[in-house]
């Protein structure tokens, strides 16, 4: 029998591709449909945020941080203001702490909704779960719009608290949302959790072993799906997270399905935290006295939070001027992609798409 001569070919997936969640590019070398090599190419959304931050005031950077992970602007704001507050030694009022927790958890739900919806969309469920998730996200966006006046890039947090106190109609609306949401999560689970096709597509695909996950500095749901119980909210509680009861959902296999499930469970846990925070929310001021132009003493600080995508940290170096000397961003999306090549080699293009979708990245954060 004569052997057929075959040759691998290079397929460019991206930068403009429906499933690259922005402008990511993968140079995949394929043998038939099987990926034999893959090289991620970044930088199509590199806007130089770290450089721009060096020439802006500490407050003026907050709009920049909005645009990092634009699906979780509030989390970015939170991470940044925590870093600055650590750097300048500012304490914030109790009410603001609670509101920060509520808002950060709402933002986590919103971001996970998109992540889960986009992942299912990548699996090929023709926009339906995505649109359902988007509808739910719209409710959170409404709440955030009520607070900040914008729908996507909120710019709501300030060093020392918030811009404005929450309006009167916020808490009743939040209460309604918290009551409605669990039944929606159940409904989504009913829609696709046990779907045979989804199980076949996602289970056992794109396995990220525990050791590798730690070694590549993965964080967030990607790390937890691999079975590492590592959540900054628990292991290094920032803000007032040590006052709430919640569990850290972890996966076992570290495959796409686990990552999807971990996100869904985290949404439930976030609702739990919001409920507790709403009960305990004290009255009082919303912002501590902070000068208009913050001038932290020379030094350095690293503030980090458990953002929806993973550990988001800001490493700030101050030289006692109104702008940071250096603002380094530890972007979870970028680091989670480190093992992309290992996870994808040997799988088909279709798997590559869902593996990529299950990592849940935002290009604004990857490239910065």
């Amino acid at each position: 029998m004569m052997a057929i001569k075959t040759e691998p070919f290079v397929l460019n997936i991206g930068p403009v591709h429906p499933s690259t969640h922005g402008v990511f590019r993968m140079r995949a070398t394929l043998d038939g449909e099987v990926i034999v090599n893959l090289e991620p190419v970044f930088g199509y959304l590199h806007r130089g945020i770290e450089k721009l931050a060096e020439e802006r005031t500490y407050t003026g950077i907050i709009p920049l941080t909005d645009r990092l992970d634009y699906l979780a602007s509030m989390s970015n704001n939170l991470a940044y203001v925590l870093a600055v507050e650590k750097l300048a030694g500012i304490s914030i009022p109790e009410r603001a702490e609670y509101l920060r927790v509520i808002i950060a958890e709402l933002q986590r739900i919103a971001s996970h909704l998109i992540a889960v919806g986009a992942f299912l969309n990548d699996c090929g469920a023709f926009f339906t779960p995505f649109l359902y998730m988007f509808r739910e996200r719209e409710k959170i966006v409404d709440l955030f719009e009520m607070l900040s006046g914008q729908r996507l890039l909120y710019n709501y947090m300030r060093i020392g608290g918030f811009t404005q106190d929450i309006p009167d109609e916020f808490l009743p609306a939040l209460d309604k949302f918290v009551k409605q949401m669990p039944s929606f999560i159940d409904e989504y689970d009913y829609l696709l959790k046990e779907n045979e096709i989804l199980l076949a597509r996602a289970k056992g695909v794109g396995i990220l072993p525990k050791e590798l996950a730690i070694n590549i500095s993965a964080s967030g749901p990607v790390l937890r799906a691999s079975g590492v119980k590592w959540d900054i909210r628990k292991v290094d509680p920032y803000s007032i997270y040590d006052r709430f009861e919640f569990d850290i959902p972890t996966g076992t296999a570290g495959d796409c399905y686990d990552r999807y499930r971990v996100r869904v469970e985290e949404m439930r846990q976030s609702l739990r935290i919001i409920r507790q925070a709403m009960e305990q929310l004290p009255a009082g001021p919303i912002r501590s006295e902070v000068p208009h132009l913050v001038r932290p003493p020379a030094g350095e600080a690293y503030g980090h939070i458990e953002a929806p995508k993973g550990e988001l940290g800001f490493y700030l170096v101050s030289d006692n001027s109104i702008a940071p000397y250096r603002c380094h961003i530890r972007a979870p999306s970028l680091l989670n992609l480190t093992a992309l090549r290992d996870m994808m080699i040997g799988w088909k293009i279709q798997d590559a798409i869902i593996i990529f979708g299950s990592i849940d990245i935002t290009m604004g954060e990857v490239d910065r």
Partner: protein
């Protein structure tokens, strides 16, 4: 399967050609492309020019604007929100997001454009079949927005593609985008087309 050595390591050849394309485009697009305004003159004469065939054609074109995929950054999510259940662009027949630029009519430039991305966007625009329109969505699309002073950001899509409608905002609300799309539809309604049927 044995894989040829050159596929394993990153392909520097591809990097070099990409780099050349970026530099060339950067060189050639230092000035903004003027906004198309020929249709404004046509508007004056449209009573004479706009035939009933044009009316039907323009109706068809504005009723089924299929957006191409060009979603670099943040505004994309307001665009998707406009497409999603609550605002539902599909009412205007726009829910078919053609992933292939060949079949799309409208490019909604949702997001910051970097120089590294610029050749790709230019290419998408060139690949779109006539007639085609561009909506510059958001501050980054119009002027570079907050990132204008950055070393890697194109100050506005009108440096590389002609823009029909500018929708300001950072990001614009979905309603604002729909308003922009309706403005574009009004513009299309006034266009006169010389039909040249290309052979099948």
């Amino acid at each position: 399967m044995e894989v040829v050595q050159r596929y394993i390591y990153s392909d520097t050849e591809l990097d070099r050609t990409e780099s050349e394309a970026i530099e060339a485009l950067k060189e050639n697009s230092q000035q903004p492309i003027p906004d198309p305004d020929r249709w404004l003159d046509e508007e004056l004469e449209r009573n004479i020019l706009l035939t009933s065939l044009d009316t039907i054609l323009d109706w068809a074109r504005r009723s089924s604007l299929w957006p191409a995929i060009c979603f670099p950054a943040c505004c994309a999510f307001e665009l998707i929100a406009a497409n999603a259940s609550r605002f539902d662009l599909s009412r205007f027949g726009m829910e078919i997001l053609r992933a292939s630029p060949r079949q799309a009519d409208l490019m909604i430039t949702a997001g910051t454009l970097t120089w590294k991305m610029a050749p790709q966007v230019k290419r998408i625009y060139d690949q779109m079949a006539e007639p085609k329109w561009v909506i510059a969505m958001g501050a980054c699309g119009i002027s570079g927005g907050i990132f204008r002073s950055s070393y890697n950001v194109v100050p506005g899509y009108n440096r590389i593609v002609p823009v029909d409608v500018y929708v300001p905002g950072c990001p614009p609300r979905p309603e604002a985008l729909i308003h922009g799309i309706r403005m574009l539809q009004n513009k299309i309604a006034k266009e006169h087309t010389n039909i040249k049927l290309s052979p099948l």
